[in-house]
């Protein structure tokens, strides 16, 4: 029970504090909460947009959770997903004639591969050179952004527009979108994300590889004593993370935009950290947390119109406060002590 109680309390606490902030802006927190709820779930289109935002968050949440199970902090999902999306769009722009289903399969492989490579670099650097993955992944985010900007503006520029985006992908690449959501771009990427989460769960708890990954995360020296190649496990964990983050490109490029747009991600990679933490690094928890953060993102998007002074950036404040609440170890152990006393 405590397993669920702590994240739920953290969400309630973070939301309450964040909504309290809207008082400063002269809004009633209750009114803001109503807008959030209506905007996230009010119509089938709104619900669709919530699911659309949740999809990449499932992938990035997993991309943070898997390495955390192995004791590594992946701040690099943003760079990994950028290159994943870029790879999918490049394949689609360079070979526009490929037929369905070969085309999306090919582009998906490219997205996974690009993300994997970008994850492998900090994994290898940590395992073999001992340099910390946190700084390396942050640096690689900037490098990925530079590379993506170069490819987009110099190599694959869409000649028909001023927008910084690549040429459109071929018609065979587009994923099926569900009609139920009145035009919200909910594509096959959503079921793909849920299935991926299930597969990650099986990998982590039902395979030898998963056992070894978790062993490295729980007690490195014990894992090494048991004959596990900890360096290799670290590299594998970061490769998996990169591949998972790369899959964001499938939903964005094949399921939505049909091209790579510079800056398409509203920091999905960073929000993924919050998703993984709130989901306690469990795939099921990640899916649930991704839905919550997707709803927050969609919910706050209408604040600019619906209120006088509260802006959509409130979502960042709410997310930050929720992460802080989850992360406060001391608070939780204090509460535990109180309830036991």
């Amino acid at each position: 029970m405590r397993k669920f109680l702590q994240p739920i309390l953290a969400v309630v606490f973070g939301l309450a504090l964040g909504l309290g902030f809207t008082r400063i802006a002269g809004e009633s927190p209750w009114h803001v909460l109503q807008i959030l709820g209506k905007s996230a779930f009010g119509s089938s289109y709104d619900l669709g947009m919530t699911l659309f935002y949740s999809t990449p968050l499932i992938f990035t949440g997993l991309a943070v959770a898997v390495p955390l199970q192995a004791g590594l902090f992946n701040i690099g999902a943003e760079g990994q997903l950028t290159l994943g999306a870029l790879a999918a769009a490049s394949v689609g722009a360079l070979w526009p004639g490929l037929p369905w289903p070969l085309a999306p399969a090919f582009a998906t492989m490219a997205a996974i591969l690009a993300g994997t490579v970008w994850g492998a670099i900090p994994g290898w650097l940590r395992a073999r050179r001992g340099s910390h993955e946190v700084i390396n992944t942050i640096m690689l985010n900037f490098i990925a952004a530079g590379l993506a900007s170069y490819v987009t503006l110099y190599l694959l520029k869409n000649p028909d527009t001023q927008n910084p985006e690549t040429r459109p992908i071929g018609p065979g690449y587009h994923l099926l979108q569900f009609g139920f959501f009145n035009g919200a771009p909910v594509s096959m990427a959503l079921p793909l994300a849920v299935v991926t989460a299930a597969l990650v769960s099986i990998l982590l708890w039902r395979t030898v590889l998963g056992y070894e990954l978790r062993a490295v995360g729980q007690n490195e020296s014990a894992a090494r004593a048991a004959g596990i190649d900890t360096g290799r496990m670290r590299i594998i964990a970061m490769c998996l993370a990169g591949g998972l983050a790369g899959l964001v490109g499938v939903g964005e490029v094949l399921g939505n935009a049909g091209k790579f747009r510079l800056g398409f991600s509203p920091e999905y990679g960073f929000i993924g950290i919050a998703v993984a933490l709130l989901g306690r690094n469990q795939p099921g928890g990640v899916v649930a947390a991704a839905l919550l953060f997707g709803a927050l993102h969609k919910g706050t998007s209408d604040l600019d119109l619906e209120t006088e002074h509260v802006t959509r950036e409130l979502s960042l404040v709410l997310q930050a406060l929720i992460i802080l609440s989850v992360s406060a170890e001391g608070l939780w152990s204090w509460m535990k002590k109180r309830s036991e006393a």
Binding site: A25, S131, V134, I143, V317, S327, G330
Partner: protein, 290 residues
């Protein structure tokens, strides 16, 4: 052209120097400071607000530093008192700053993009540049020759020994994190009221992380860190100059390749390909009395 490049390097490295020195206090005391980015951002916003209110960049920078201290106090509360994971809480602080700045900007000026522009006579001309280097000198002496400087180092290297000597480790860490907030806030201030004419959204653009990289590059020592900031500032200045300049044939060097150089350099340095850099021993761990 060379003189111009030197001047421009010195100017653009100023915010980095303040932030990196701030990061130095916190990290040398054992607290990782991923939050530098957010501390700078809130500082740049508050400094612009303060300058617009009082028409003095000096008062403005005090606003910036105060905002940095305030946000750093939230960070310290979570990582020191509540023993939150430092990287997680740091990321959250960055998000908080990214969310709070447009939130307050909208309340004060009814726009989320940027503050009104500050007239040139009310902005800094070159004071932060000199202040930054004076601060480098102060830090060199402070860390090496004063008791408080030694406490900071011991809190990060051998917290148990410091505790045994009767100094409260967590109190030293609190102070170090608050100082880092003030300095990062000043770094942010030098972005909004020295290098540009207003606060604009997300104007730090990764400079907090770059300062962190400079800190590692400089092996957590004040002078080498400041020199690393100069190097990053140079890359930035070159990048501004080289935009659109043809270098071989008719092709300009894509600016993206120049922009990523500092980040690439950091990765290579960390990997030990270019010198070696060792973090304080107790960095990232919370201290609980025995």
């Amino acid at each position: 052209m060379t003189g111009e490049l030197v001047a421009s390097t010195l100017r653009v490295s100023t915010p980095l120097i303040f932030a990196a020195l701030g990061g130095m206090f916190s990290e040398r005391s054992g607290v990782i400071n991923i939050a530098l980015e957010g501390l700078m951002l809130i500082g740049s916003f508050a400094a612009a607000v303060g300058t617009l209110l009082t028409h003095s960049p000096w008062v403005g920078s005090i606003f910036g530093m105060a905002a940095g201290v305030l946000l750093a106090a939230v960070y310290a509360l979570f990582v020191i008192r509540l023993r939150a994971n430092q990287i997680v809480a740091g990321t959250a602080i960055n998000m908080l700053a990214m969310g709070l700045t447009p939130f307050f900007c909208k309340i004060l000026y009814d726009v989320t993009g940027s503050t009104p522009s500050i007239p040139i006579g009310e902005r800094f001309h070159s004071a932060p540049l000199y202040l930054g280097w004076a601060l480098v000198a102060v830090c060199v002496v402070w860390m090496k020759y004063t008791p408080t400087g030694l406490w900071v180092s011991f809190a990060g290297e051998h917290p148990k020994a410091l505790d045994a000597a009767g100094i409260r480790v967590n109190r030293v860490r609190w102070a170090a994190v608050l100082v880092s907030g003030a300095l990062a806030g000043m770094g942010g201030a030098s972005l909004s009221i020295f290098l540009s004419s207003s606060f604009s959204r997300d104007m730090t653009a990764g400079r907090g992380f770059m300062a962190l990289a400079a800190l590692i590059f400089g092996k957590w020592k004040p002078l080498p860190t400041a020199l690393a900031c100069l190097l990053f500032g140079f890359a930035d200045a070159v990048q501004i100059r080289l935009q659109g300049v043809a270098v071989w044939g008719d092709h300009p060097i894509p600016v993206q390749f120049i922009q990523i150089l500092p980040y690439l350099a950091t990765v290579l340095v960390l990997a030990g390909f270019v010198g070696h850099s060792r973090p304080p021993k107790a960095i990232g761990t919370s201290f609980r009395k025995g």
